[in-house]
């Protein structure tokens, strides 16, 4: 998939990253992030054919224990998420679609099978590396926004950069750019409780973008919004994908949103249909 010149460049970068990173594993993740973001930035929307495979699951399983009962939520899922795709995961309630999204983002550990990010199996990463993966590669957007109630919009955005140890100057530029992008540059000093649902979700999307992730994983991002706001949010996702080449994976109930996706993965009873 990679040509020879990039391989030579990669070696240099690997060395540089090795010097800075704690392990070769980190370096690999960092490198992957670099390559992907570099290639994304240069891309225009390319509907078909699909780009390289970013995330792949094979025979992914997840079981929960509820009391004595064991619930099998995912029964062996095989999906691939490609670079620059806008994928909708749909399915009825309890079908396992949100669980799939969380496993893709390394927020949860599978009971069986694996999630591969490039050549790396997420299950094999330490907690620290998993944190690194989430902060560098993934941007999460939740149905209930989950902005930190005690931080104003600006800090809610900045906090993602804090964990990524980004220099202060870059953070300010990023906050300004992204808050403008999501139309909240006049709400930076507001606390989440002072925002509307749509504004909160836009702030959450801006936060997800702060570390320039390759993939945005959105769990029913419009589930708590009216149709106008929902449409606006989907527009925003599309715009992000178009501008940054970010891969968007949305879990949704809404057939209208699913229709706007490049591809729809339907999950039913823990399996892809």
């Amino acid at each position: 998939m990679r040509d020879t010149t990039t391989t030579a460049k990669q070696d240099l970068i690997i060395q540089a990253l090795l010097d800075a990173s704690e392990s070769a594993e980190d370096a690999k993740l960092a490198l992957q992030a670099y390559i992907d973001s570099a290639s994304h930035r240069s891309r225009k929307r390319d509907t078909r054919p699909q780009g390289a495979v970013l995330l792949r699951t094979s025979n992914l399983q997840k079981k929960y224990k509820r009391g004595r009962q064991q619930i099998e939520v995912l029964k062996g899922i095989d999906v691939e998420i490609h670079e620059g795709e806008f994928v909708a995961i749909t399915g009825s309630s309890g079908s396992g679609k949100s669980t799939l999204l969380q496993l893709l983002g390394g927020l949860d550990k599978p009971s069986g099978g694996e999630v591969m990010y490039g050549e790396v199996s997420l299950a094999k990463l330490s907690d620290k590396k998993l944190s690194l993966f989430r902060r560098q590669t993934i941007g999460f957007v939740f149905q209930f926004f989950y902005l930190q109630p005690f931080l104003n919009v600006s800090r809610n955005l900045e906090v993602a950069n804090m964990f990524a140890r980004k220099p202060r100057k870059e953070r300010t530029a990023q906050i300004n750019a992204l808050s403008t992008k999501v139309g909240l540059n006049d709400r930076l000093d507001h606390l989440p409780k002072e925002l509307s649902g749509g504004q909160m979700q836009r702030a959450a999307i801006a936060r997800a973008l702060m570390n320039q992730p390759k993939i945005i994983l959105a769990d029913e991002p419009t589930g708590n919004l009216d149709s106008t706001n929902s449409a606006a949010i989907v527009d925003l996702f599309e715009a992000i994908r178009d501008e940054f080449g970010t891969t968007i994976v949305i879990v949704t109930h809404d057939p209208a949103i699913a229709r706007r996706a490049d591809r729809e993965i339907v999950v039913r009873d823990g399996l892809v249909v």
Partner: protein
């Protein structure tokens, strides 16, 4: 690692967002810790101030007064009056005595009727029909003498040097109660002898200068701190004395201060008295029994002359005495002697008779003793006034040579010419007279190099439990042993206060911090979702707890120190005066503060608060770290 500044920003923002909870935590925990801090700074202040005074007066000396009183007399338990052997011994001695007296009376042609002068002390018990000592006989000198002999045989003599032998650091210091065995020392109020006084000799003696007054010759090094005048001149023949403040005031003609006067006035009075102490002189008249008897006779004769002289009933005694001037304590003089040569001869024979049978009281002896003030000693009136904190401090620091005691510094006393310190009054052999036989009159003064030994002796005598045996002991001159004891109790008390109130405060503080951190599961889950490591989370909440703890520390320190400073501001003046009054002998300008932050406990408190906060936050962080962020987000969502 996250940038420490970012950690701080997030922790501080979180702290500020929970204003009510933070406020309540800081207020409750801070109040409890603040009170502990206040108690610590005040008690530490008091003890630091006490230490500052430790070199003054007798506070750096450990002296015990030790007295002996044979309470469990084996002789008294033995009922000698009913003992046939004792009765027989008395009977025989009586017979011999009477026979001897009859012989001597005959020799000097002195009329002697034993039934009048020496009735038999032996009688018959109406019930048992056996010989017993009669009620009158018990007090006869014959029975007393034989009883004393028995007592001496039966009872072990108390030896102070044996008693203190187990204490290697103990040294006996000179202390002698001046109490003539024969006759009495009477105070010459306004320089005049009260010649008409009759009755109990104790009431006429030192009591004249103040209730409970005694004259004691005291070791020079012990009395030295109380000497404020260096004008003592031994050649004047005046006995140097350290006078209780209240008595000194009286002798200087000052009326006692009212209870309501300000501490300042009290202090000024004290300084005045101290400055004027060398102006104080007082005179005492010593008369032995014969001199007193003759004086009594002279006064009675003069009284009779005044009352009925010139009437037909009045018959002037053939031997007529003139009372001496009441200012010079001299002997009685014969004003007229119209006795016939036979009468004179009979009187001379009577003396020879009494001398031979041992009942003669001796020639009259009288001495005038003048004392001169060289210093003052605190007494009950100065130590306890209406200033409550002052009395407390006064009680802590009180340094005195004993309430009511007039102390004569031994080293100065020794410099006096012999004529100024007649043996009849000052000789140690005279001390206590007949009382010295059963009581160690005035007791002994023992100095200890090792306080622990002094405590051991006090414990041995039962001083701590209040159940004294034959030997009793008390701390002399100062209350340092008490202060040490009090300090150790206060320190124990402080420790438990710290443990109990501290635990309550820690539970409150830790409970609230722990709850806050545990309540923040969704917050940390969201942080985790956007890339925070567990360490990042631990740092944020750890610093949050630290900041909250620091607020509690600051609040409690500010509160405690403010209370301490307030107490110092309000009470320091009175306390300082209390201390100055306690050291009546020494004019000290050391301030008595009730505030000091030089205590390890304060560091302990800071440590406890911060540790409590950190532990309270770390536990939920560790427990939360294993949780699935997704579950946490859902739970609270």
């Amino acid at each position: 690692m996250m940038n420490p500044f970012d950690v701080f920003v997030l922790a501080r923002t979180k702290l500020r967002s929970h204003r009510t909870r933070t406020g309540i935590t800081v207020a409750i925990a801070g109040l409890l810790f603040g009170l502990i801090v206040a108690v610590i700074v005040v008690t530490q202040g008091v003890f630091t101030s006490v230490d500052k005074y430790s070199g003054i007066g007798l506070n750096d000396r450990t002296l015990l007064g030790v007295s002996y009183f044979n309470q469990t007399s084996s002789f008294e338990e033995y009922n000698h009056l009913d003992d046939p052997d004792f009765v027989r011994e008395v009977e025989e001695a009586y017979k011999t005595d009477i026979a001897n007296k009859k012989v001597v009376a005959k020799k000097y042609s002195v009329p002697y009727d034993p039934t009048i002068s020496d009735p038999s002390p032996i009688g018959i018990d109406p019930i048992t029909k056996s010989k017993v000592i009669t009620n009158d006989g018990v007090s006869s000198s014959l029975v007393q003498t034989i009883a004393q002999k028995k007592r001496d045989e039966l009872e072990k003599k108390f030896s102070i040097s044996d008693y203190i032998k187990p204490y290697s650091s103990a040294t006996l210091r000179y202390m002698q109660l001046v109490q003539p065995g024969d006759g009495a020392l009477s105070y010459m109020k306004n320089g005049q002898e009260n010649q008409s006084v009759s009755g109990n000799r104790f009431n006429e003696s030192m009591a004249g200068v103040g209730s409970g007054a005694t004259l004691t010759i005291l070791d020079g090094s012990v009395s030295k701190p109380f000497i404020s005048s260096d004008s003592f001149d031994p050649s004047k023949g005046e006995v140097p004395v350290i006078i209780p403040v209240a008595t000194a005031e009286k002798l200087l003609g000052l009326s006692p201060l009212s209870k309501n006067v300000s501490p300042q006035e009290r202090r000024e009075r004290l300084q005045f008295v101290r400055a004027r102490v060398s102006d104080i002189t007082a005179s005492f008249c010593y008369r032995n029994q014969t001199s007193r008897f003759l004086l009594g006779q002279a006064v009675a004769q003069q009284d009779e002359l005044k009352r009925v002289g010139g009437t037909k009933d009045y018959v002037k005694p053939s031997l007529f005495y003139a009372a001496p001037s009441n200012e010079d304590c001299s002997g009685v003089v014969v004003q007229s002697d119209t006795r016939s040569p036979e009468e004179k001869k009979a009187a001379a024979n009577q003396v020879l008779f009494e001398k031979e049978i041992g009942t003669w009281l001796g020639e009259p002896v009288q001495h005038k003793v003048t004392v001169r003030g060289v210093g003052v000693s605190g007494d009950y009136d100065t130590a306890s006034s209406n200033l409550s904190i002052g009395s407390f401090v006064g009680g802590l620091l009180n340094s005195t040579l004993g309430y009511g005691t007039w102390s004569v510094p031994k080293d100065l006393f020794d410099q006096l010419p012999a004529a100024s310190k007649p043996d009849e009054i000052f000789s140690k052999d005279q001390t206590g007279g007949p009382f010295a036989i059963r009581y160690a009159v005035g007791g002994y003064l023992v100095e200890f190099g090792d306080k622990a030994e002094a405590r051991a002796l006090l414990e041995r005598t039962g001083a701590y439990t209040g159940s004294f045996g034959d030997v009793s002991a008390y701390q002399f001159g100062s209350g340092t042993l008490f202060v040490d004891e009090a300090r150790s109790w206060v320190e124990k008390g402080l420790f438990w206060l710290l443990v109990i109130v501290g635990s309550i405060a820690v539970i409150i503080l830790a409970g609230i911090i722990g709850r806050t951190v545990a309540d923040s599961r969704r917050e940390s889950a969201v942080f985790r979702a956007i890339g925070a490591t567990r360490t990042d989370i631990a740092h944020i909440y750890g610093v949050y707890a630290l900041l909250l703890s620091i607020r509690v520390v600051v609040f409690s320190m500010v509160l405690g120190i403010a209370i301490g400073l307030g107490a110092d501001l309000i009470l320091s003046d009175s306390a300082t005066l209390g201390a100055q009054l306690a050291y009546a002998a020494v004019d000290t300008n050391i301030r008595f503060h009730l505030f000091s932050i030089a205590s390890w406990y304060l560091l302990v408190i800071v440590g406890v608060i911060i540790l409590a906060g950190l532990i309270a936050s770390v536990v939920p962080i560790i427990l939360g770290a294993r949780r699935n962020p997704i579950t946490d987000m859902r739970e609270e969502g």
